[in-house]
Symmetry: C2
Subunit: 457 residues, 2 copies
């Protein structure tokens, strides 16, 4: 009998992170400053990030070694198990096979610890006393709070207001790890005050919270800033997921036909998928890479590929990405981690080139899948992760209907224990699917700045 859960030993934790930039089919357009149209000065980046993280951000080396101290902390929960969703398969009568990586086993409850730990580690190395960040659903804020506590660094989190209100337990979790948490937009920053003056009833957004966290960092010379997605060094750290998954599939002599992940800023899909994209591009492996985003925030399915700011107050460099415009204001869906207007640059390029597919789902169908998963596999998925479950089920049923059952891998990025109010909303029948109209999206796209044509790069 095969095991349901496939484990690796801690000795088998990968020694390196995989850098997708080394194998992209085209040169990645560089990040540029809106005023100079040149890459940002190193001094400006160093004011925000620890130097080793900037080096990783700009590196094109294929593999970057994971420090021993980081691997030691990864051993809290890594390698994460690869799990066969056999009970879900049986319930649906599938011939296709469903596997998932359970990143919800991390102490903070999601894959976000994979980057929080090295980010705190490198900041400790350069003597950072305090780290500011933003968080959407709260997964990144929880992970960074925990990592900062381990390295004795103060942590300040700007939490998107809708999540702050929906998820009081997330706030307490971060406080238990010693962090200070503000709802964003807040009165603590001029960015926050300006947004509140203009939109007093806003439910907030990641783009707004990023503006606040950056401004806060710049007020205190011992502070540095940390981001939980979008940037290259973040998705780099996440590639430990896909590398482990490949080893685990080797152990059972299988290989996935389809790899599925949800999309916020990009870390959920890319961490799982990039090592498989590498196989696809460099070894000709026949594997489909499927991204899934909420219909309420459809950057890859309805946005455009362009240079745009990463934040709402236009403090960041311009990032080459799919975007709905930095002024996009997503509805208050429960998958707070997927309410971001743009996406990681490498992933955006791969979608532009047709190497990664883009799909979108409404939150009611997502929660139907989440409840089915909970009632069969037992695990309560985070609303973000439930997008991947729902899409994986769609792929499996399509494959079965074609008479060609597939092996499907998805990333269960986190558990939903702090999202029970979302389940309550679904079970009560009151959940709404709010999808932006074409007019709303066209209006929002106008917030993309005039910048060089990205296709020139």
């Amino acid at each position: 009998m095969k095991e349901k859960k496939i484990y690796l030993t801690e000795q088998e934790i990968p020694n390196s992170w995989y850098n997708m930039k080394a194998d992209l089919p085209k040169q990645l357009p560089p990040m540029i400053m809106a005023d100079t149209l040149q890459p940002p000065a190193i001094e400006m980046l160093e004011r925000l990030f620890a130097k080793p993280l900037i080096e990783q951000e700009l590196s094109t080396s294929r593999y970057i070694e994971i420090p021993e101290e980081v691997k030691k902390l990864y051993s809290m929960y890594r390698p994460s198990p690869l799990i066969r969703a056999n009970f879900l398969e049986e319930k649906l009568g599938l011939k296709s096979k469903l596997y998932f990586k359970n990143e919800g086993v991390s102490p903070s409850g999601s894959h976000k610890s994979n980057s929080a730990i090295p980010q705190a580690y490198y900041n400790k190395l350069i003597g950072t006393k305090r780290i500011t960040t933003e968080t959407g659903a709260g997964q990144w804020g929880s992970a960074l709070s925990m990592a900062c506590k381990v390295f004795d660094i103060e942590c300040v989190v700007y939490m998107v207001k809708v999540s702050y209100n929906q998820k009081p337990y997330r706030k307490i979790l971060m406080e238990t790890y010693g962090a200070t948490v503000y709802p964003s937009p807040s009165e603590h920053t001029s960015a926050g005050r300006a947004i509140l003056a203009k939109f007093p009833d806003t439910s907030g957004s990641l783009a707004m919270a990023i503006s606040e966290a950056i401004e806060d960092t710049l007020q205190d010379e011992h502070s540095r800033y940390a981001l939980g997605s979008v940037l290259s060094h973040v998705v780099l750290h996440q590639t430990i997921i896909g590398q482990e998954a490949k080893k685990q599939f080797e152990l059972i002599n299988e290989y996935p036909d389809i790899v599925v992940g949800c999309i916020g800023g990009g870390s959920s899909l890319t961490g799982m998928a990039f090592p498989f994209v590498q196989d696809k591009l460099t070894k000709g492996k026949d594997v489909r890479i499927v991204s899934v985003e909420p219909k309420a925030c459809p950057k890859f399915t309805r946005g455009i590929y362009a240079y745009d700011f990463g934040d709402a107050s236009n403090m960041t460099p311009l990032i080459p990405m799919y975007t709905l415009g930095n002024g996009f204001s997503p509805s208050s869906i429960h998958a707070g981690g997927l309410r971001y207007h743009g996406g990681n640059a490498e992933l955006s390029l791969l979608i532009k080139e047709g190497i990664v597919e883009a799909h979108a789902l409404g939150q009611k169908e997502v929660f139907a899948a989440a409840v089915l998963f909970a009632q069969t596999e037992g695990i309560i998925p985070a609303p973000e992760s439930a997008h991947a479950i729902a899409q994986a089920i769609v792929e499996a049923q399509n494959a079965d209907a074609e008479g060609k059952p597939k092996t499907i891998l998805f990333n269960l990025t986190g558990h939903g224990h702090f999202d029970m109010s979302a389940y309550d909303n679904y079970l009560s029948g009151e959940m709404q699917d709010i999808v932006p109209t074409d007019d709303e999206i066209n209006e929002s796209l106008k917030t993309i700045p005039k910048a060089p044509d990205i296709s020139k790069y």
Copy 2:
């Protein structure tokens, strides 16, 4: 380098549960009816429990085979990892070693699934359509809801009112698994109505909720009742924990000097400890077995060994146990799972005979340990489990102070993701330690019925 997490394969899930009754140093006094002073009639037991569970309840066989279907469902999360708490050790500068079984990896979040799954399975075998139960902290209710859903059995949970109000997410979790949840005491039963008439402001107790669940079961012939602790068949199922732990210690060529577990009805400690008690009694192993209860509900440290009812309305048989009296009304501590007036019969006998030690802690020192554990090992422990952490730290520090470092094993019975309001209460500095006075306990002991002298058995 040794691994932090010691796993077993699913093939190594034990084939049998271990029955402590086979190796007790004295004959266990039987359960008896208050009116006849004779053991309950089988027909009465069968009205409440599935027959295979009654057979297990009364069995003195040393090992009872685990059905394949149960083992298959156990594979959702079992074997649970044995984890070295090395980060906590380092923080405290300990020479003693701390290990814990992480039962929080179960889908319902605690060890309670170990008994919920077989109880639902055996009920399915006899055709039960509906199971009623009570829950304190909500761990048992969550576990049973999930197990019932898998076997397509309706589940009704009477949840102690204080927990129902403190933990709204627990209720939603059970509803996500398809259960119906009532706060207890409720208006749904005559037992509940009688209690509300007498004590309209009561925060409820497990003993009251048990009365309601039993009465509910008796109203519907297709219903059966399930209990999450106290009874012999429940602690039997939990022994899978300690059996796994012994295998895991064998893998690393170690053996614990001290085994620590918290005490509610008994399942948290016994599941881990009984296989080690077996070694102590039958192989002469030098291992201390340490139970720890809240000072707010001190049955083993301040109660008496006597025949008492398991519920507040005196519907159950008399159980030979340490008890504070079935009318004991514990204060609203956050460890809702430990607010029970009595304890499992086998464990009570072992404590009476001096084979298991009884200790008690206040909830503030327990939460100090919980936060320290969270900030070092990352995991947020359930308030119940945090009692074991706090006692394990005491034992380690005592051993180090004596210059004789020990290997200490404790049972991390569950995570505290649904208990964040308790952490908020602690972090805010508002947490109180409420300990019953001698007068209060003496008053409560008067609710123990007149019954034969237990020492005669």
